[in-house]
Structures are given as structure tokens and as C-alpha cells.
């Protein structure tokens, strides 16, 4: 591999970034090659010491995705940031991906329970379409629906707090973990 190939490969891996950001990064690496050459280093040596373009790109992308998720937290942006961080090292499968999947499942579970509580009057009606039973169980039904709604509202509030927490953890993780 030579300098041009290295830079073009890096460019390829950074395709998803906004053009101005990508150009800035490319300038940094081009400058690195220039300065190294002035200091009498061969292209081969510089490339070997830089680390593979893929490694460099992963680091850059993880950083960008975390920043993006911090600006507009949503399930998709946070998931993307998590995935980009996981790509930095096997260790992150355990300390990032595993807790993330587990906590998402917990959220799915809570939403699932809330959903059943809210539709419980309909379920009761399907199971036993007698108006008298419906009246008998009226307060129970009101209670179930109420608890269900409270769970939904609570989870929604928790979700935004949770995103913030995940992003903070990813930032912390990025500053410590990864090949360097």
C-alpha cells in the first residue's frame, strides 16, 4: 500500500460523513504524510505506524455517531452510536452491546405489559361478552387501564433519560477503549 491508496481507502470508509467534515479529516492525514516525508520517513513506514484506514475510520465514525446521537437522541441514532462503538473492540461486545440489548428488552417488556393492561377491557369482553360481568369488573378494568397508561408515560420519560445515560457511557467508553 502507498500513500495515495491509504488516503483513498480512508476516504471510502468515511463516505457516510458530511463532506466538509470528511474533507477536514482527509486534510489532517494528508498533512501527516507531508510532514512525515519532510522528516525523512518512508511512506511504508508512515502507513505501518498510522494503523489501517479501517481502524482509523472506525474511531472517527464512532465519535461522529456518538456526537450525532447526543444532538438528537432517538432509538435509531443511539443504536447506531452503540454499534459504531462496539466495532472498536471485542471487549465492547460485553461491556456495551450486552447491557444495551438487555436494557432494550426490559423496555420492550414494560411496554408489552402496559399494552396488555390497556387493552384488558377488550380482552375481557372477547373472553366473556356479558354486560353484567363487565359491570362487575368495572373498577378492576379502570385500575388496569390506569396502571397501563402510567407505565407508558413513565417509560416514555425514562426513555429520554436512558438515551442520555447511554450516550454518556459511550463517550466515556470511547475515551478509554479501543486499539491505539
Amino acid at each position: 500500500m502507498n500513500k495515495d491508496l491509504y488516503l483513498s481507502e480512508l476516504y471510502k470508509y468515511l463516505k457516510r460523513l458530511p463532506p466538509d467534515e470528511r474533507d477536514e479529516i482527509m486534510t489532517d492525514y494528508a498533512e501527516h504524510f507531508e510532514q512525515a516525508e519532510l522528516n525523512g520517513r518512508s511512506e511504508k513506514e508512515v502507513i505501518q505506524r498510522l494503523g489501517s484506514p479501517r481502524l482509523v475510520a472506525r474511531e472517527v465514525l464512532a465519535q461522529t455517531q456518538i456526537k450525532k446521537a447526543g444532538k438528537s437522541p432517538s432509538l435509531s441514532s443511539v443504536t447506531r452510536a452503540v454499534m459504531a462503538t462496539v466495532s472498536l473492540g471485542l471487549f465492547n461486545l460485553i461491556v456495551v452491546l450486552l447491557p444495551f440489548v438487555a436494557s432494550l428488552l426490559l423496555f420492550v417488556g414494560v411496554y408489552g405489559v402496559a399494552f396488555f393492561l390497556i387493552i384488558s377491557p377488550i380482552l375481557l369482553f372477547i373472553q366473556n361478552p356479558l354486560v353484567s360481568i363487565f359491570i362487575n369488573e368495572f373498577f378492576l378494568m379502570v385500575g388496569c387501564v390506569g396502571i397501563g397508561l402510567m407505565l407508558v408515560i413513565g417509560s416514555m420519560k425514562m426513555t429520554s433519560v436512558y438515551y442520555k445515560f447511554v450516550i454518556r457511557y459511550l463517550r466515556y467508553n470511547l475515551s478509554l477503549i479501543g486499539r491505539i
Binding site: 479529516i25 498533512e31 501527516h32 522528516n39 481502524l55 465519535q63 456526537k67
Partner: protein
């Protein structure tokens, strides 16, 4: 040295180096990799992150020998973070040293 351990310290290293004078990217890489081995390419993402967090400002400056270089200048906020990191590091390194000395007695 343990690779994961090193990454956390790298932030401290680039802050210390820029506290002395403004530095350009290659210079920082050289200064650090002279002392311990790093994947040099990952320094630039780190510099970008610290700049976006407001710890560095950057400017372009012409050089005698060739094309212009991008210089990193530490900000007041950067100095504050540096001081915190140095205090933390000294406490940590001091603790480790004590244990090593006690262990070898």
C-alpha cells in the same frame, strides 16, 4: 503496555504537550510515539474530539519547510481539564508506585 490503559492517558499527553506551546499534529504524534507505541492514526480523531469539546482551538500557519500546518492551541478550559487530569494521574501513579515499592521490599 496495555493498549486499553494507554488510550485513556493519551488525552493527558496531548494536553500536556500543547500546554508548553502550540503544536501541529505530526509533532504531537512524534512526541508521543517516541516514548511509547501507539497506532498513530488514532491521535487525529482524539485531537478532533478535544477541539470539538473546546479544549483546543486550531489555526493554520505557514511553515518554512513546506505546506501550511494545522496548529493546536490549548484553551483556558483545556488548561482546567489538564490540571484535573494531572492531579488524578499523580494520585494514581503515586499509589501504584507505593504498592510496587512495598511489594519489592
Amino acid at each position: 503496555m496495555n493498549i486499553q490503559f494507554k488510550k485513556g492517558v493519551l488525552e493527558l499527553c496531548v494536553l500536556v504537550l500543547t500546554a508548553k506551546k502550540d503544536r501541529y499534529g505530526y509533532e504531537l504524534v512524534e512526541q508521543i510515539s517516541r516514548r511509547f507505541e501507539i497506532a498513530e492514526g488514532t491521535i487525529y480523531p482524539l485531537l478532533r474530539r478535544l477541539a470539538s469539546e473546546g479544549l483546543f482551538s486550531t489555526y493554520l500557519s505557514e511553515s518554512m519547510e513546506g505546506p501550511p500546518r494545522k496548529y493546536y492551541k490549548i484553551t483556558d478550559q483545556g488548561m482546567t481539564v489538564l490540571n484535573e487530569l494531572v492531579t488524578e494521574w499523580e494520585k494514581f501513579a503515586g499509589g501504584v508506585r507505593e504498592m510496587i515499592e512495598e511489594g519489592s521490599e
